[in-house]
Symmetry: C2
Subunit: 361 residues, 2 copies
Amino acid sequence: MNWPNHVEKILSKLDIALPIIQAPMAGGFTTPELIAAVSNAGGLGSIGAALLTPESLCEIIQATRALTSKSFSVNLFAPLKYERSEEKIQKINEIMAVYRQELNISPSITADIKQPISFEEQLEAVLSEKIKIISFTFGTPGSEILRKLKNHQIIVIGTATTVKEAILLEKLGYDIIVAQGSEAGGHRGTFLDSFENSMIGTMALVPQMVDAVNIPVIAAGGIMDSRGLEAAIILGACAVQMGTAFLTCPEAGTHPKHKAAILEGTEEHTKITSVFSGRPARGIRNRFMDEMEKYQNSLPDYPLQQSLTSSIRKKAAELNREEFLALWAGQGIRLSQSKPAAQLLLELMSRLTIFNKTNNK
Amino acid sequence: MNWPNHVEKILSKLDIALPIIQAPMAGGFTTPELIAAVSNAGGLGSIGAALLTPESLCEIIQATRALTSKSFSVNLFAPLKYERSEEKIQKINEIMAVYRQELNISPSITADIKQPISFEEQLEAVLSEKIKIISFTFGTPGSEILRKLKNHQIIVIGTATTVKEAILLEKLGYDIIVAQGSEAGGHRGTFLDSFENSMIGTMALVPQMVDAVNIPVIAAGGIMDSRGLEAAIILGACAVQMGTAFLTCPEAGTHPKHKAAILEGTEEHTKITSVFSGRPARGIRNRFMDEMEKYQNSLPDYPLQQSLTSSIRKKAAELNREEFLALWAGQGIRLSQSKPAAQLLLELMSRLTIFNKTNNK
């Protein structure tokens, strides 16, 4: 390959061969098999660790290390302040009671809300496992923690959905920024302006962000193949982060019904919704999303709503009822395939038309 | 330049030197000076003729021809069915009365609604002037008219915001399709699914559309410079259509306050709104947009609302009150400049890094 300088730099910084990052998708998608396959093939595998207990996180790190000697990253959700409104919880539990009944789950009570997993303990787990690349979504965990990570020589990647967010992350000392375009599947990383004002398409977001900061920018959102990779690099990105493209790999922990929905889905089937977690995320429309939409503005805060829907989603997964699953997917959905991760990466590289070996520019 | 084949084909089909189309923005922006400057510099200038009477349209065509011997295109809005609800008209007039008062315009009455301009007469004007490239927004004018245009050897360009729309346009015999990504400024071209479901980012939309149709696809939405142009071509587009980038050219008929708002604006300042016309369009947020937002779902249909706000916008323009103007702009807004169109195109070409002359791929 003959990558431009800005790409070469990040390859050397992250110690990877290909400028492709497998997005850290929280929720059991990023299995050790997927992460290791991506890292072994030259990309950067990532653990979507936001919903993992410190113990599970350590287990996954160790299991991944058993499959690869290459580096991989861990993503955590920066801790969010939230308000616990018993009224909202009770109201939404009443509304969702029909689904519990339909799925034969015992009626939920307030006590159903699990204690959110401690961010500090997750971070301690990551540090104890000597992970060298950490990324954050939902903003930033604060300057003290960032200093600590710096002292451990950890590369810190932030997520920005607007130029303003990127400028702030750079100021705070982040090493790299993921520019999350509006096409992206899963949770929006927005943390400054409103979610509505922060839906910027990748084509517009990347060059504006690249112009505004001096640290490397990784493009995310709607990128599924070699065309998206090369386009992103030309826009100024030093690498791409791909989520949906990896969700349908056999190594991914994606529910078979979720995989099928992606493989059959089209670009106008996805939508931003808060009904699964209390925070906006892009997924394929289904019955739960449609029926719950009218309650979007009265949901308990994240992570309370996340916790309240978790038994519904879990039981639905057991019963293969995709109408209750969070079918995360981005807008590039028609381009999804069901190939092993290594083959996906190989094809991506072999189909480059600009930055391939024979091009001597 | 060493354009790939798919670009060379469209250059020869449209008889232009550069794969850049100046978007046909309705509302007085596309002056003969702007159109001619773009066409003379090798791009394709376009008249945004949707709101023009047949007489004005002929005048602009002739004035443009006095400035260029190159070809340029004319865009019309495909005629839309609409319902005239006196109740909605009366209600919205009451709501907007405060603005009329503030701007010292006589109170509006139902009779204030102008007779919509006849699409058939617009089309006759275009045919009588022997225009060779016509584009449509808001769907398609029907197979009889398309046949007529074909018989006149006119190249017909359609606008699609989803793959499904593109497939339909190809079936109907369109020659070229503009893929309008969610980043794009101005009116959404959506005509099949809901507007909400048809907000697909350019990065995701272009490759999916290119894969689905056999006719050339032009990328639009968020493209402002040579990076966007090259990225779009790599995604499979044969050319780009740029609107916002040309709105700030000295030749454009853009109000000075509108130009200033674009030059100072940032990507999170734009928003999709229906309040100006009755149909969703992207512009920079201002007082009218914010205050009227809560009535979005009770507006009279397009073009009734368009007509009802026209005296407000006209008077606001006279008084330099940008808080009442429709400040159309796309999400690439930070990249806007105020250079003459010819210089903009020259710079765009000189900054190509992939498809420039010295690259011998």
